[in-house]
């Protein structure tokens, strides 16, 4: 420590972290595209990109809701369970036609979201605990409603899962529409502004007269509804309702997409473009390793590395 003269400082680690947090995910996606184009056979094809987009759509839709919850300095662990619940309910009520089934699915999801929101906003339970309760209970209910996997033979569901419009699968169109909708809500609505303020400084937001409880309720309802959409779409694609395994660990995939996309867990920011890129990054990473038939454990390690980088970047931000 002694005997060393002060020299001009090297570029701040904090600044590197900040850059990584903001743009790292895009760089990662770019890198994977380049690597795959060079090394993976049949990578540059419309079919391949369609496959990746269709596979990432449910994760992405769930991640949108997760980004909102994380933006309020919360988290929603019940999303996987809501997917399972919506799969069960879809199978049970398809007899009334797809619109009827969707209505019931929405009711169930809204109920879960309201329960989450009430526990968080009214009772003051930590989000991680409140939504953990529904993560366990929700899947339990899904399995009670539909004890085992059931095949779905419904033309409307089949077309939802594998149909397309001008060559673009419905799944991709729906996911894209929801991305735009949520991005719009975050940027342009009072709800979005209030959400960010609550996530950044809840006390100040409360003292500024913001409807904190209402905003939190809406956030968890939105998250549940988005998870329900993802559940219906995944079910449609699978042509089967699988309440036991559908959405398993989805909460972790969604959180990963959000965090890797640069949204800090400390709240106050919601990066929708980053979340999209985060989900795509994880998808491409998984696809790359599968296509090259690398051991599945590599996928986990690669994802762990990405998360560590994301957390490192978030930490750099905190050092400012």
């Amino acid at each position: 420590m002694t005997g060393i003269a002060v020299r001009p400082a090297a570029p701040d680690r904090a600044r590197i972290g900040h850059w990584l947090q903001r743009y790292g995910v895009y760089a990662g996606v770019g890198l994977l595209l380049v690597v795959n184009t060079a090394l993976t056979p049949h990578f540059l094809s419309v079919e391949n990109f369609r496959t990746q987009a269709v596979q990432v759509a449910p994760v992405l839709i769930v991640a949108l809701g997760m980004a909102l919850a994380i933006g309020t300095e919360g988290v929603d662990l019940s999303v996987g369970a809501v997917m399972a619940l919506s799969a069960s309910v879809t199978a049970l009520y398809l007899g009334y036609g797809l619109p009827g089934a969707l209505l019931v699915v929405a009711l169930f999801a809204a109920a879960v979201g309201l329960a989450n929101g009430a526990l968080v906003a009214l009772v003051g339970v930590q989000p991680i605990v409140a939504t953990l309760a529904l993560m366990v209970g929700g899947r339990g209910l899904a399995q009670v409603l539909l004890p085992q996997l059931e095949d779905i033979r419904n033309p409307a569901m089949a077309s939802l899962g594998s149909g397309d419009l001008l060559g673009v699968p419905y799944l991709i169109l729906i996911a894209a529409g929801l991305v735009l909708l949520v991005a719009f809500a975050v940027r342009r609505t009072t709800f979005g502004r209030q959400l960010l303020a609550i996530g950044d400084n809840r006390t100040a937001a409360q003292l500024a007269g913001l409807p904190v409880k209402r905003v939190l309720m809406v956030v968890y309802v939105c998250s549940a509804l988005l998870a329900a959409v993802a559940g219906v779409l995944a079910t449609a694609r699978l042509q089967a309702s699988d309440p036991t395994s559908l959405g398993n660990l989805m909460e972790l995939s969604a959180i990963t997409a959000v965090v890797v996309g640069g949204t800090p867990l400390s709240g106050g920011q919601v990066r929708i473009a980053g979340t999209v890129a985060g989900a795509v990054l994880i998808q491409l990473l998984t696809a790359t390793l599968i296509k090259h038939d690398l051991p599945p454990s590599w996928t986990q390690m690669a994802q762990a590395a990405v998360i560590v980088l994301a957390v490192y970047a978030a930490r750099g931000r905190g050092r400012r």
Binding site: M1, T2, A5, V6, P8, A204, G209, L210, G268
Partner: protein, 539 residues
């Protein structure tokens, strides 16, 4: 207030012909942040036993200097010498090991650990088995802390102590780790007057032991009472360096502000114009019998339009709680609040805001600003529903409101999209004021509106309060600064232990009477201003 307390020229700590050795020397320190040169070639020297005041407006570079000194930041250029040896600190811990200890405004100890553990953290006395010798630790902790005026059960968690006592623990810990230099950043901002006296005693003790002190404070009285020398920074540059004894207050303020002496003298120390045209007629705010268990016991007050009502009292007397109960941020057990004769639901912030009550909270950082959002979003925050249609934000309306208030309040930000967290304290406070003024309030509750902000911003805020009262707002002013309270208020309601103990109006609003009332009326008024430390509210 009174003239600076006369102080004897400071005796050289080690009375002798040779001046005490130089402990610390900073030479030509420069540190740049994106867009800002926070420190520009600043030098400073510190001798053993010297207490040096470090002053400057917000943004002058004080905190950057401290952070460079304590290893939080690395300087871009310049050198630090400790005992004549060049040093370079990579982390605060390295600085601490080298003998530089820092006490920050916020106590950064571990609230759930015992007082004694906090004091000895990392160097606990051990018994033969290598385990912590709790008996010895507790005895030594109690002994050490009594020297700091803290008499508490050292086995209880730190958080059970008051803020002042916690600060003393922090100080005791800092000093006990063999510090050669102690940096104190606004140490008295949350202390009671008695605790301030204890702190001063401790600082004098440090001086006698030959420990050098860098003392940062906004309270000029404290500096004159305690410090030998002063370093004045402005805009990252050194503007004055010398003994404090020869420098009168006005010159010091002038140096900080970079203004001409005459200008400062003419204006006095606050910007308040004096009395307002206290309107006759119905009060715009009427609070009756507000009671909050353990905090407020039947507080009533009323404010007429155009009137500034001061709320006086010591720390913990219930001033902040009164303001929060009125603003709905604290649910009173009983009592009523009415705005312009219309009673409102208590305990609901939105209801109070709809009725026209705005509260500028005491703790700007944790209760006021939303640091990650921009200046623009912060100003528009409360008024958002009015600036939106069908839930969609109208950017044009926000722009016009933001532009209006940024100009009117002279908010200094690089642009409206700058994050509020990056602004100086004074500008943050103005942003909060703008947030409330955008709501067209009827009543403005200002809880310590000028605390911790620089002199220039302070003057601007005071002037603004005057203007707002003249525009017909009812203002409730809470301030620990007696001068501000007296010059700013038409009436002062005095609280003690959660109850109203007196009210001063018109000519009664004087420092002498205020202090008498605060002290409980029975005791004779202190000879204000003539004896150091006689100012009760601690400025």
């Amino acid at each position: 207030m009174a003239a600076p307390p006369a102080r004897e020229p400071c005796p050289a700590p080690s009375a002798g012909d040779t001046p005490p050795a130089e402990v610390l020397a900073l030479r030509g320190l420069t540190r740049t942040f994106p867009g800002v040169r926070a420190l520009d070639g600043v030098s400073l020297s510190l001798r053993a036993g010297e207490v040096r005041a470090l002053v400057g407006e917000n943004g002058a570079g004080k905190s950057t200097l401290i952070k460079v000194l304590t290893g939080v930041y690395r300087p871009d250029a310049g050198s630090i010498e400790l005992h004549g040896e060049p040093v370079r600190f990579g982390t605060p811990l390295e600085a601490q090991h080298a003998g530089i200890s820092t006490i920050y405004q916020e106590v950064n100890l571990i609230p759930l650990m015992s007082v004694a553990r906090n004091l000895f953290l990392g160097r606990e006395p051990r018994n033969r088995l290598g385990l912590i010798d709790f008996g010895r630790m507790h005895r030594e902790a109690a002994g050490t802390l009594s020297g700091y005026g803290v008499r508490a059960d050292v086995r209880r968690p730190l958080r059970s102590l008051g803020v002042g006592a916690q600060q003393m623990v922090a100080l005791a810990r800092a000093v006990s780790v063999d510090a050669r230099v102690v940096v104190m950043d606004e140490p008295t901002s949350s202390l009671e007057p008695r605790e301030v006296e204890t702190l001063f005693g401790v600082v004098r003790g440090l001086r006698e032991r030959g420990i050098a002190v860098v003392y940062v404070s906004h309270r000029l009285d404290e500096l004159y009472e305690l410090c030998d020398t002063v370093t004045v920074l402005r805009d990252g540059r050194l503007v004055h360096d010398g003994p404090l004894a020869g420098l009168d207050r006005l010159s010091l303020v002038a140096a900080m502000l970079g203004r001409e002496l005459g200008e400062v003298r003419r204006k006095g120390t606050t910007e308040f114009s004096g009395s307002h045209q206290a309107a006759e007629g119905e009060p715009v705010l009427k609070a009756e019998d507000l009671t909050v268990p353990h905090k407020l016991h039947g507080v009533s007050l009323s404010i007429r339009p155009g009137e500034v009502v001061g709320l006086g009292g010591l720390l913990g007397s219930g001033r902040t709680e009164t303001a929060k109960a009125v603003a709905g941020a604290l649910a009173p057990g009983s009592g009523t609040v009415a705005v312009a004769g219309v009673p409102l639901r208590t305990g609901s912030t939105p209801a109070a805001i709809r009725a026209g009550i705005s509260l500028l909270p005491e703790d700007r950082k944790s209760e006021g600003i939303v640091p990650g959002l921009s200046v623009r979003e912060n100003i528009a925050l409360a008024a958002l529903p009015r600036l939106s249609r069908l839930g969609l934000v109208s950017e044009a309306r926000i722009d016009s409101v933001v532009e209006t208030f940024m100009r009117r309040l002279r908010i200094k930000a690089s642009d409206p999209h700058q994050k509020v967290g990056e602004l100086s304290g004074g500008n943050q406070q103005k942003v909060l004021l703008a947030r409330w003024l955008a709501m067209n309030p009827k009543v403005l509750l200002l809880d310590e509106p000028t605390r911790g902000i620089d002199v220039g911003a302070k003057a601007e805020v005071q002037k603004l309060v005057d203007e707002l009262a003249e525009d017909g707002l009812g203002v409730l002013l809470i301030s620990s600064d007696l001068e501000e309270l007296i010059e700013g208020s038409d009436r002062v309601v005095v609280l003690k232990d959660g109850a109203v103990v007196g009210e001063l109006t018109g000519d009664e609003v004087t420092e002498d009477l205020l202090m008498r009332t605060i002290a409980g009326g029975a005791e004779p008024a202190l000879p204000g201003g003539t004896a150091p430390g006689g100012e009760v509210a601690g400025r």
